[in-house]
């Protein structure tokens, strides 16, 4: 169980600027509520460039775990959400990774590292917040 004052990191990787802002904004609102409720600190990092996102992950900032990542599956530049998801899980086994896609869940096999999947419909930002809330709830219960 984390102590009060613990820091959580929320990572958003969505290359579509509109959807990125939308998701980030919604998650930020939830982060504020979570910070108030659990007296913890939630840091939100948002990326539209998958390369930049991978660099940030490799920088070792997420090794302390308590990471919730919302990754778009189709990120372009020959990098998909599963690549990012694998890297996050490699560096931080306890991280919770949610893949986002506008269509159904991409084919799941034993190598899939993500924990959940959200369809990018109008309810997706709220559902992401629900996952974030649940993750932190579980950490404190």
């Amino acid at each position: 169980m984390p102590e009060m004052g613990k820091t959580f990191t929320v990572l958003v990787m969505e290359d579509n600027q509109y959807y990125n802002i939308l998701l980030t904004r919604t998650l930020l609102n939830t982060c504020s509520l979570i910070e108030e409720k659990f007296r913890c600190s939630v840091r939100l990092l948002s990326f539209t460039d998958p390369g930049e996102c991978l660099l940030k992950i490799r920088s070792g900032e997420f090794n302390k775990c308590n990471v919730v990542a919302f990754i778009d599956y189709y990120t372009g530049d020959e990098i998909n959400g599963e690549h990012i998801s694998k890297l996050i899980k490699k560096l931080c086994r306890d991280a919770f990774v949610v893949l986002l896609s506008q269509s159904g869940e991409p084919g799941r096999n034993k190598n899939c590292m993500h924990d959940s999947f959200v369809i990018k419909d109008p309810h997706a930002p709220a559902l992401c917040c629900l996952y974030l809330e649940q993750f932190i709830d579980n950490k404190f219960s």
């Binding site: 609102n29 506008q102 709220a126 629900l130």
Partner: protein, 830 residues
């Protein structure tokens, strides 16, 4: 000694400081016995004592120094006397001199006064000199000289030249006067002519005689002057000698005073040094004591802090243990109840099947065993809650008769099995309706009757309910259960209400049970502020009496109990129900029961799946498990209610959990759940809950959306800004920014799509279309979304490539329309 003791305390404290917290007490057990208050008090007492002693000694020393100073400030009396004598002598001499000048006896008055007192003053000086022989000798010399002076002065007085001259002159004058008188007589005798023409008689004076007299007077005067001069000389010598003597005396006295001052200064120095020593000692002792007090206080505070930390740690650990215990209880409850639900549920389902008698008998045993297991779990959970003080009593109106009858129905069969006669009575004076917690009162009665039934064979059991005393509002409910069972030994009676206790171990082995029944009864009665008493005779029977205060109720306030039909209502057929549970056998049990009721049962294995299903399909009812991996049931329900905007009227949600309703009620109501189904459940219970949840809701058919529900934030039906405004929380600038971003990214996306089409990069084209879909869907740009989706599928599947251009053109045109609508909307945002 005290200081030494204080030092020993301090050193002990210092010694303690070097050891660890635990070692402290182990090394110095004597110190442990001295409480902090005593230590501080002792040190304070010591400080006060030290302060008093130092103050007293300082006072003594200071007084001595001050008295010395005071003595030195007084003038020497001998010196004063010398000065006075000297002044007197001077005055006397002046008086004599003045007399010699003016020859007035009046001026001699001080002289006579002085010489008459001079002896007294000299004697006084002699006395003042005390035993100082040298000074006495000096004083004697001065006395002799003064006497000589007085003799000289007297001689001088007698030799006063003026007086001699005056006497001579007077003689001469008398002589002249006598001559003048003779002449006048002769004149008178001559008559007038004789006086006018007569010759002057003066002329007749003897000139020689006058010359002689004058010469004699001059001679006498000269002699006197010489004598006076001689006396003056003598007087000067004696005066000088007297002065010398006086100076000697004074210098001697001054040297004496100087020596005395030196001595006193030396004494004062010694006293001052002593005083300084005391002050230094006081300062050092005070500082030591202060250090000791500070040290002990700091140590105490540190120790206190350590205790606080230890206490907080213990509290945290205790709280953690409580949480672990609660979690364990919840887990245990969940883990046991879940399979028991399946066992009990499927057994019940199998009992509906046409089976042979042996199978039915076996199934009944399984059912009974699972029911028994559930009862034990319930007992343990209740006990845990009672122990933690977490059980709250309800205050509702209820019929006591119903409770009594229910209990009878519950145990009648078991009593018959034991060939025991079970009966009950209800005091007619009891109010029909009471206010209290009927569930807990029933539990008390069940536990008591259950015990009696268990331990009574071939006997009788009577349980009665009476009401005694009380007033208009309150009454004491007396629940009495009497049996003719095995009874309890008197010595063991006091233990029977203790936790996990049965009168004998053999009872546990023979009759079974957890030993919690009576303990729960006691705790529940205590919770009601009542009392419980047990009387028993071994092998004769037992009587347990509980007195519980309750309020009188009102018929009008009774909760009307709906008579639930035990038959499955025909309206149930065709209902579309979603069951969300991660436990496969629970899902299967629901499916089995519901499908037998001809209900269309859909299942979801977790919350996320349930959300996806609810988003796309409409259900009449939803069963939601609470504890699930991923998102829990409460959050999923909240999401359905708040985000998907599916109301309780459209789709009631029934909470299914292993926890008790009391624990969950607040949470499930808050999250938007409507009913509660505790695991394990019976088919009857399930039916009751379903009917209660559906209430007056039409049981099938898709509802069309009410036109009034259409969101007014839709802009000419091309786009729908409802979601965006919802997320913005009223921040119009955010909406503006998002709309601008939407136009920019979609415009760019469409350009890239066009380029990809022209270059024949179909996968890129599909990916780009795919990318543009979520924002379009979010803004409710349905037509554009549809077109982009078509483009994605056609490009991705390389099918109907020929239609792609048309689709892209339509998408661009649609975007043009949307873009102008959005631009208009942006203009409205200030």
């Amino acid at each position: 000694m005290l200081l030494l003791y204080a030092a020993s305390i301090l050193s002990s404290s210092l010694t303690i400081n070097f050891h660890s917290f635990e070692d402290t007490y182990a090394l110095n057990p004597a110190m442990r016995k001295i409480p902090l208050q005593v230590k501080i008090g002792f040190l304070m007492f010591l400080a006060v004592l030290l302060l008093a002693a130092t103050g007293y000694l300082s006072y003594i020393n200071l007084s001595s120094v001050v008295s010395l100073i005071r003595v030195d400030t007084k003038p020497d009396q001998r010196l004063l006397s010398i000065r006075e004598i000297s002044k007197e002598l001077e005055k006397a001499e002046n008086s004599i001199r003045l007399y010699t000048l003016i020859n007035d006896t009046k001026v001699l008055k001080p002289f006579y006064s002085i010489i008459s007192n001079i002896d007294d003053k000299v004697n006084k000086l002699r006395e003042e000199c005390g035993d100082d022989t040298i000074m006495l000798q000096q004083v004697d010399t001065i006395s002799t000289l003064i006497e000589d002076n007085i003799v000289i002065w007297k001689q001088m007085l007698s030799l006063n030249p003026n007086r001699q001259v005056m006497e001579n002159l007077e003689g001469l004058s008398e002589m002249i006067d006598s001559v003048t008188v003779n002449n006048q007589k002769q004149e008178q005798e001559k008559g007038i002519l004789g006086r006018v023409f007569g010759r002057d008689r003066k002329i007749e004076l003897d000139e020689q005689e006058l010359r002689d007299n004058i010469s004699r007077i001059e001679q006498q005067d000269q002699e006197i002057k010489e004598k006076l001069l001689a006396r003056e000389k003598q007087l000067a010598v004696t005066g000088s000698e007297i002065r010398d003597r006086f100076y000697d005396l004074i210098s001697k006295m001054e040297s004496e005073v100087s020596v005395s001052i030196e001595g006193k200064a030396s004494n004062a120095g010694i006293l001052a040094a002593r005083f300084y020593r005391w002050l230094a000692m006081f300062a050092v002792s005070g500082a030591l004591l202060a250090i000791a007090v500070v040290f002990i206080t700091v140590r105490y505070v540190r120790k206190s802090d350590a205790y606080q930390i230890a206490l907080a740690k213990s509290r945290d650990e205790a709280e953690k243990l409580v949480r672990i215990k609660e979690m364990f209880m919840a887990n245990m409850s969940h883990e046991i109840r879940t399979p028991v639900t399946a066992i009990s549920g499927f057994t019940e389902q199998l009992l509906h099947e046409p089976l042979n008698e042996k199978s039915l008998s076996t199934l009944r045993v399984i059912k009974s065993s699972s029911d028994h297991l559930v009862a034990i779990i319930n007992d343990i959970l209740d006990f845990s809650k009672l122990q933690d003080g977490k059980m709250a009593l309800e205050q509702v109106n209820f019929r006591i008769k119903n409770i009594i009858e229910d209990v009878y129905v519950l145990f009648e069969r078991d009593a018959v099995k034991n060939r025991t006669e079970l009966s009950y009575s209800l005091d007619p004076r009891c109010p029909e309706v009471l206010v209290g917690d009927p569930y807990r009162l029933k539990q008390i009665l069940i536990n008591l009757v259950s015990n009696s039934v268990k331990f009574t064979k071939d006997g009788t059991i009577l349980y009665s309910v009476k009401c005694i005393s009380g007033d208009q509002d309150k009454t004491d409910l007396v629940i009495e259960v009497t049996d003719t069972g095995i009874g309890i030994e008197e010595s063991k009676l006091k233990y029977i209400f203790e936790d996990f206790t049965q009168a004998e171990m053999s009872i546990t082995r023979r009759y079974g049970g957890t030993g919690l029944g009576l303990s729960i009864v006691k705790k529940l009665v205590d919770l009601h502020n009542g009392s419980v008493e047990c009387k028993s005779i071994r092998n004769q029977g037992t009587r347990i009496t509980c007195i519980i205060p309750v309020k009188r109720g009102d018929e009008k306030n009774l909760v009307k109990e709906t008579e639930m039909p035990l038959r499955i209502p025909s309206a149930m057929a065709g209902l579309k129900v979603l069951v969300v549970d991660d436990e496969e056998y629970n899902r299967l049990l629901f499916k089995t029961i519901l499908e037998r009721w001809q209900v269309k049962c859909h299942v979801a294995v977790n919350g996320a799946e349930a959300i996806e299903m609810v988003k796309t399909e409409k259900f009449d009812l939803l069963f939601m498990d609470i504890r699930m991996p991923g998102i829990d049931g409460l959050k999923v329900t909240q999401f359905i209610r708040n985000e998907l905007k599916i109301s309780a009227k459209e789709m009631p949600v029934i909470c299914i959990t292993a926890a008790s309703e009391e624990d969950m009620k607040e949470k499930y109501t808050e999250s938007g759940m409507d009913e509660f189904l505790s695991k394990p459940f019976t088919e009857e219970k399930l039916l009751k809950v379903v009917i209660s949840a559906l209430g007056g809701k039409p049981m099938s058919g898709k509802e069309t959306k009410n036109p009034s529900d259409i969101d007014h934030s839709a802009v000419k039906e091309k786009i729908d800004l409802k979601n965006l405004y919802h997320i913005s929380g009223g921040d119009e600038q955010f909406v503006k920014q998002m709309l601008v971003t939407f136009i920019e990214t979609t415009e760019r996306g469409l350009t890239e799509i066009r380029e990809a089409f022209l270059s024949g990069h179909w996968q890129t084209l599909a990916d780009l279309s795919h990318k543009l879909l979520p924002p379009c869907r979010h803004l409710g740009a349905t037509e554009l979304s549809r077109l982009l989706s078509d483009i994605e599928h056609k490009a991705g599947g390389r099918t109907d490539i020929g239609k792609l251009e048309g689709l892209i053109q339509r998408a661009e045109a649609e975007f043009g329309n949307i873009s102008s609508l959005i631009s208009e909307h942006i203009k409205k945002i200030t």
